[in-house]
Amino acid sequence: MIEHAMTCQELVELITSYLDDALPADARQRFERHLAVCPGCAIYLEQMRMTLRLLGTLSAETIPATTQQELLAAFRGLRHMGESR
């Protein structure tokens, strides 16, 4: 069977599978072979990686001090109820 080379248009749709290491071995090889010779796809993959990195920074959104205080008060209150049970 003649193996057909992966196109750029196919590669961009497989990036999430690639990053999750969910591609079958042969597809992974074709993916990497294409990537090695295609600057456009390398840039696209790099942009995806940066997108993920930036999304990750959103988790650092800090909890407002008042919310934290209220949640702590709830924790203390419920623990006390538990003890007196």
Binding site: E10, G40, Q47, M48, L54, S59, A74, R79
Partner: protein
């Protein structure tokens, strides 16, 4: 693929919070990691530090998920508080049939839905009810050469590299606001998946278990969501 993937039909994720409380969960194989045990112990013991670190760790994702259901940040904050109260009240009955995190987020989802109903808001179609969608490209087809071309499917207009952009620009508040904006335009199911995977750092298996969707479905939703965010970022960064 997790062992629990192909087990007996499950109830939807949202209703499984109650199952866990009654000890009748069907997700038996999806038991939480050993690290859950330590955390659970700490919470039951009243360890405030462990509790607060858990609360802060998931705050951003919880807020974003709650905001999909309720109309304001203030109400979303209340939903988060109700969630933690529910968690604390249920701690002694939590049996570890799902991971602690999954269980906590199911409580969040239930509280958010209840709140949305009370406010007469439309409950978004979450991944819990979305079936597999037909394939659609995540990159505009017209940036690739057509089938008649000598090199069909290769870039006509390759993307522009971002590595010449200053790091401060990429990490600026404005860039983050662009991402936030892009996230709010996503269909609910995509938004849930990308929030859990990429903001809160869940594994694919954890998301599949929580939303009760297949690995393939999870990946499609995640891929579309990421591609939309990347595209929004590319547009914003190119506009310079």
């Amino acid at each position: 693929m997790s062992d629990s993937e192909n087990q007996q039909p499950r109830t939807t994720g949202a209703s499984r919070e109650a199952d866990d409380v009654s000890g009748a969960s069907t997700s038996g194989e999806a038991a939480g990691p050993a690290s859950d045990l330590g955390l659970l112990e700490a919470l039951r013991r009243g360890d405030e530090e462990a509790y607060l670190s858990l609360v802060s760790m998931h705050y951003a994702a919880m807020l974003r998920l709650a905001l999909m259901y309720v109309g304001s940040r203030a109400v979303a904050e209340e939903v988060i508080q109700e969630t933690w109260v529910g968690v604390l009240q249920g701690l002694d009955r939590f049996e570890g049939r799902s991971s602690l995190k999954t269980w906590i987020f199911r409580i969040l989802l239930n509280r958010a839905r209840t709140r949305a109903q009370r406010e007469n808001r439309t409950i978004p179609f979450s991944a819990l009810v979305t079936t597999t969608e037909p394939f659609e490209p995540t990159v505009e087809p017209d940036v690739f050469r057509s089938a008649e071309d000598q090199h069909p499917g290769s870039w006509i207009t390759p993307p522009a590299a971002w590595d010449s952009l200053p790091e401060e620009r990429l990490l600026s508040l404005e860039t983050r606001q662009q991402i936030d904006q892009a996230l709010t335009t996503l269909p609910a199911a995509q938004r849930e998946v990308i929030t859990l995977r990429d903001i809160d750092g869940w594994s694919a298996n954890e998301v599949c278990d929580y939303l009760d969707i297949s690995e393939a479905n999870q990946r499609v939703l995640l891929h579309r969501a990421r591609a939309r965010v990347r595209r929004a970022l590319a547009g914003y960064l190119a506009a310079g």
